[in-house]
Amino acid sequence: MKEKVEKIKYALVTGGSRGIGSAICIQLAKDSNYKLLINYKGNKEAAQATLEKVIELGGSGELLQFDVANAEQVNSVLDSWHENHKDAVIEVVVNNAGITKDNLFMWMKTEDWKSVIDTSLNGFFNVTNNLIQKLLVNRYGRIINMVSVSGLKGTAGQTNYSAAKGAVIAATKALAQEVAKRKITVNAVAPGFIVSDMTNDLDEKELKKMIPINRFGKAEEVAHLVSFLASEKSSYITGEVININGGIYS
């Protein structure tokens, strides 16, 4: 084998502009030497604000606009990024982009079923499938899939979201076995109720009664876990789903 040339290492966070994704970018800037690739779909301002915080913390990175649900766009943006960064490797992939379109199953429209599957499940495929060969060649990598307590126990009103996240959990376990030999770990993180745009409309006062820790979690708390999984310290953990939910599911 040829001697390995040291490449510039990047961590890609999809849906990195806001909420948990943004907190992950900031935590990785604090804890690691990775340059950040902050993916966003529509909110460039929020993505820019995240990048500025990363830079304030002494990190660096760039914005990458694409919709994870659009395979063609994902491939074209990531391929051209690699074309322009031949000395770089995306070593950490955090599949965080997700959407919800909640409704009782009996009222659920086909498009709301499909769009949630497209972003949360197919988005994982589109991004990870594009990057996996390069990770295999790199012989080291971290893939972290943001799932949800919904994907484990199911949540009423979220059959689409629960199905998508449950599928990603299964894919996490399968892919982990495929690539483990090359020191690539694949894990899933399953947050419960976390304060973010996604949970803005929920009644925290009412819901926290069912959470043993008696409050919603903070995005930073999730980011700490992701940062650990993204580090070399987590090297013997793969194919796992790690709950972070204040004790609601065990």
Partner: protein, 81 residues
């Protein structure tokens, strides 16, 4: 256009250099997977080597046609021309 001999020479060179194959083990009828001691994930290295040497990208369907080194040269030639 690259002629067959050139393809074979170049391929053998990277097989020896990058995949640590002994020169005497290289013959057209040799089984590619066994000669290179490839496991399923190792094919990715072969894809990368072929791409960097010939600027063509092999996919899973191409490998389905390949059993021997001769097949391997043939597929590269087909892709190139």
């Amino acid at each position: 256009m690259m002629d067959k001999e050139e393809i074979i020479k170049k391929t053998n060179e990277f097989l020896i250099d990058e995949f640590e194959v002994d020169e005497e083990d290289i013959c057209p009828n040799a089984n590619l997977k066994e000669t290179l001691e490839l496991d399923s994930l190792d094919y990715v290295d072969l894809v990368v080597s072929v791409e960097s040497n010939f600027n063509v990208k092999l996919n899973a369907d191409d490998f389905a046609e390949i059993e021997t080194l001769q097949d391997f040269y043939d597929v590269i030639e087909k892709k190139l021309n």
